[in-house]
């Protein structure tokens, strides 16, 4: 039999054999309170919050540790269960400091949530609480530990034992003096450490970067893809559109992993997670033109006029484009249509993000760009791309280009100096300031991934969608809209009406993407066709 029927709180639902009662309930929209259970970790069964009554079984059973049987009848909401769960919650809170006002978990705390759901009692605990050793103690670059808030669910312990296999988190001592900690004098030493903040259901483990920058109830979320490497881990961008003053002007305050069983399961590496500041820091907001006597800011439309003039003026074969693997598939496709196909521009992918030896056997890739695979496919790049910095000059052709468009990359300074000395017009299209932007004749500000919708193709060929989280800063525009503006000015019949339409065009024209649609990318992305 490959399907069972179980009845939970009177709802009869289908269940997969071997699955737990808790997972079955959650999959069917029935919420059974739980702390220690996490779908990405082995079952521990220690918190006892998910106690349920199973007809025919005298004692209450934990839903996380009970496998469904055909015809099983389960109650998670009757008086007996409610009473037991309330007891458990009361037990978890007696030694908890209940210091919610000064706790950064406030608003996303399992104790707060379940107190509302199943608690609602007046405290009967008239005793002194157990005092634990560590309050607000850093246990690594990113993680802060408050032992008193811990409910000993052991999720962090299981994470470092089973997922990273680095074993840093442990529970020392016994009974009500048991406490989570790292080895005395030690610290977290894995590259996924902040996941234990995500999975901590209470305020025991908080993020040192995020702490007290913003109350979580001000945050909004947008589903996205981590731009930190070629893995394409699924994330939610947490941003605070209303109160950027809470965080020194930053709108985006954190990345959190979103589950995707094909890519990152439930996890995210620290490098990717803490790459978010580039969204708000050192951004290029307005176009700039370098002229005799200095640099002047100008409207984007005027910058595009100027760039269109330069493209028109540049002799055939003497314009080159350094594309970026940070661009979305849609942006790359627009560049391909205009620059490569219509204008015959030489297109190269410079190698700016490969950190050889940096990969691990889990999520982290050597390639630090989210869309190298997409760039390769869309530009038909072969063995020679990406082009290493020392081969970039040779890659640009026998003669140095008259006009060089650089997308995001910071050129090696000798090459940059040589180009400028040779009279090459340097145009920088990019999101963040760097030395090449500072030296460019013309700067065209682009939006970052978080300011537009689009897709990336990860290193395995999985195409994944991301959504707009925050609006563009200043005059910054998606690259496809820049190409649209240029096409209009150059009288080329190309239309890029928006990311959804471009994606449809792309799937119609590019074999590898044929058959994909935004629908097929939901929720976990879809693989390209392998020719």
């Amino acid at each position: 039999m490959d399907k069972f029927t179980v009845t939970i709180n009177g709802h009869t639902i289908e269940a997969k054999p071997g699955q737990s009662v808790l997972q079955t309930a959650l999959d069917n929209g029935i919420h059974i309170p739980h702390y220690c259970f996490h779908p990405g970790l082995p079952v521990a069964g220690n918190c006892r919050m998910c106690l349920v009554e199973i007809e025919g079984v005298p004692k209450l059973q934990i839903a996380c540790g009970t496998t469904v049987r055909d015809g099983m009848v389960v109650w998670s909401n009757n008086d007996r269960v409610r009473q037991a769960v309330r007891h458990v919650l009361e037990f978890l809170l007696i030694n908890h400091p209940v210091d919610c006002p000064v706790c950064d978990q406030a608003g996303e705390c399992g104790l707060q949530d379940y107190y509302m759901l199943v608690g609602r009692y007046d405290s009967r605990f008239a005793e002194n609480k157990v005092v634990k050793h560590k309050k607000a103690t850093p246990i690594g670059r990113w993680v802060m530990l408050d032992q008193e808030r811990c409910i000993l669910c052991s999720r962090c312990v299981r994470f470092t034992r089973e997922i990273t296999k680095t074993n840093e988190m442990a529970i020392f001592n016994r009974g009500d003096h048991a406490e989570i900690d790292v080895f005395p004098g030690g610290e977290l030493r894995n590259r996924y450490s902040a996941n234990i903040v995500d999975i901590c259901p209470v305020g025991a483990l908080t993020c040192r970067d995020f702490r007290f920058r913003c109350r979580v109830w001000y945050l909004k979320q947008a589903p996205s893809i981590c731009p930190g490497c070629a893995r394409g881990c699924n994330i939610a961008i947490h941003f605070n559109p209303e109160r950027p003053h809470h965080a020194g002007g930053r709108r985006v305050l954190r990345f959190k992993p979103r589950p995707n069983p094909h890519v990152n399961a439930f996890w995210l590496c620290d490098d990717g997670r803490y790459s978010y500041p580039f969204i708000d820091d050192h951004r290029l907001r307005f176009a700039a033109l370098r002229e005799e006597g200095g640099v002047r800011q100008l409207y984007l439309k005027d910058a595009l006029d100027r760039l269109a003039d330069w493209l028109r003026a540049s002799r055939s074969g003497r314009t080159a484009y350094l594309l970026s693997a940070d661009s979305s598939n849609e942006e790359l496709f627009a560049a391909r249509k205009l620059l490569r196909d219509a204008l015959g521009v030489r297109c190269l992918l410079p190698d700016t993000g490969l950190r050889t030896g940096d990969a691990d056997d889990f999520l982290i890739c050597e390639d630090k760009h989210p869309n190298t695979r997409g760039a390769r496919i869309l530009f038909g790049l072969g063995e020679n791309d990406p082009v290493a910095p020392d081969r970039l000059e040779a890659g640009l052709g026998a003669e140095l280009p008259e006009l060089l468009l650089v997308n995001r990359a910071d050129l090696p300074s000798p090459l940059r100096d040589k180009l400028l000395a040779a009279g090459t017009r340097l145009v920088f299209l990019g999101t963040n300031d760097n030395a090449t932007a500072a030296a460019a004749h013309l700067v065209v500000p682009l939006v970052v991934f978080a300011e537009q919708a689009g897709t990336f193709t990860n290193f395995e060929g999985r195409v994944q969608k991301f959504e707009l989280a925050v609006p563009p800063l200043g005059d910054a525009a998606p690259e496809w809209s820049v190409h649209q503006g240029l096409a209009e000015r150059l009288g080329i019949d190309l239309a890029f009406p928006g990311p959804a339409a471009i994606f449809r065009q792309l799937t119609a024209e590019v074999d590898a993407f044929r058959g994909l649609s935004h629908e097929s990318l939901t929720p976990h992305g879809a693989m390209i066709r392998h020719e």
Partner: protein, 425 residues
């Protein structure tokens, strides 16, 4: 004189030596079993005997053995639970001290029955003299071919090793014992899977109490039917009753299942100390509900004690006379369970600590009228909701004490002192 199965050598000089053991018929049964019987025949005999686990839970031993998967390609382990730590319980200590070869013979026969070639004796770390004695006995047994390669010249191999705990009552819980034996904290495991399927190092494992195994040679010698007839109801054989507390002659008394509790206290153990009156009895180790003096006219077998609202448990009988303050007595027990809670699951970890704080406060003279009700409610919040039976073990005494001696608790709270004049200290 009643039948003596377990204690028949206790009074002999040098009863712990293999010389005395063999001279009194020891190892003859194991030798015969290995030569003449099949493992299945041994298990059948034990099933017939109605031998039930002597650790406290009373699970039928033969049935437990039959849960080992047939034709498993993994090693099968026998773990001997010698982690005797239940307050009021000291019977296994007597066996290991005075007749360790009886235990070893039981191990040999039982290991043969379940197809085990490596047995571990998990013994509590405090039993230091007993550890020494067991090790010496094992060495003697190896020297005489009773253990090791080709036991008694048969085709059966068996290694036996002693593994020492380090002070944790919880390791008497069979899955915590396995964790400890694997080198970890004594955290009980979730069941299922049961140890007979996934036990030590993930292999099929049987965990049996010392006294349980010490019964096996006699069952195989005289037959399961004989053994069952010694007992009462579905509880076969005799038990080593450990009597302690306010009696004139504390000690271990081997009596048949179904023996009279009154007789045990007033005849065998000599009655109540200092000529005082009996007040209460805990009949099966500190975890089981307490009985008032008027509730002790019962037979000591699993079924009868259950009918009286308590449990036979480990058969550790703790006797309290009328000079005992039940508030202080319960405080000792709560202190124990709080100290010994492993801390893994919430109700036991937090609940035992809470209970101790309440009762300490009552004893300090800061009790509140609602405390008795809160204690009862906290205990009920623990009862049945934990991973392992330690939660129940902590809750049951609380519930029974505050119910049966409610007046004493209320008196203590109201008057800030014991209801008992000049209570024992």
């Amino acid at each position: 004189m009643s039948e003596r199965i377990l204690s028949k050598r206790f009074d002999l000089a040098d009863s712990h030596t293999i010389g005395v053991y063999e001279a009194t018929g020891g190892y003859a049964t194991a030798r015969r079993v290995l030569q003449e019987l099949t493992p299945a025949q041994v298990t059948d005999e034990v099933k017939k005997s109605n031998l039930r686990g002597r650790g406290g839970a009373g699970f039928p031993t033969g049935l437990k053995w039959s849960f080992i998967p047939k034709d498993t390609d993994r090693p099968v382990y026998l773990c001997v639970n010698a982690d005797e730590s239940e307050p009021g319980t000291f019977k296994d200590r007597h066996i290991m001290e005075k007749d360790p070869h009886l235990l070893l013979e039981g191990i040999i026969i039982s290991a043969f029955a379940i197809g085990c070639h490596q047995a571990y004796i998990y013994i509590r770390g405090e039993y230091i003299p007993q550890i020494r004695r067991l090790r010496a006995a094992i060495q003697e047994a190896y020297g005489r071919g009773c253990l090791g390669r080709r036991v008694f010249g048969s085709g059966f191999d068996l290694e036996v090793a002693v593994y020492t705990g380090a002070g944790a009552y919880i390791c008497g819980e069979e899955t915590a014992l396995l964790e400890s034996l694997e080198g970890k904290k004594g955290y009980p495991r979730l069941k299922p899977p049961f140890p007979a399927v996934v036990g030590l190092y993930g292999c099929p494992t049987i965990i049996n109490n010392v006294e349980t195994l010490a019964n096996v040679p006699a069952i195989l010698e005289k037959g399961g039917d004989w053994y069952a007839a010694v007992g009462a109801h579905r509880s076969g054989g005799t038990r080593l009753f450990g009597v302690s507390g306010h009696v004139i002659r504390p000690g271990v008394y081997e009596r048949p299942m179904g023996y009279s509790l009154k007789q045990l206290i007033f005849e065998d153990a000599g009655g109540i100390l200092d000529g005082r009156a009996l007040k209460a009895v805990i009949p099966g180790g500190s975890s089981v509900p307490v009985l008032r003096a008027d509730e002790i006219d019962i037979a000591l077998d699993f079924e009868s004690v259950a009918t009286a609202g308590s449990m036979l448990g480990s058969a550790g009988v703790i006797v309290m006379h009328d000079g005992t303050c039940m508030v202080r007595a319960l405080q000792r027990l709560i202190h124990f369970y709080k100290d010994e809670s492993c801390g893994q699951c919430s109700p036991c970890r937090e609940g035992t600590g809470w209970l101790l704080k309440i009762i300490n406060r009552i004893i300090r003279g800061d009790g509140r009228p609602e405390d008795v009700a809160v204690m009862r409610d906290v205990a009920e919040g623990i009862l049945g909701n934990t991973i392992c039976p330690l939660g129940d073990a902590a809750a049951m005494p609380v519930i029974s004490f505050v119910t049966k001696f409610r007046d004493e608790f209320e008196h203590y709270i109201r008057h800030k002192r014991s209801a008992v004049p000049a209570p024992v200290k």
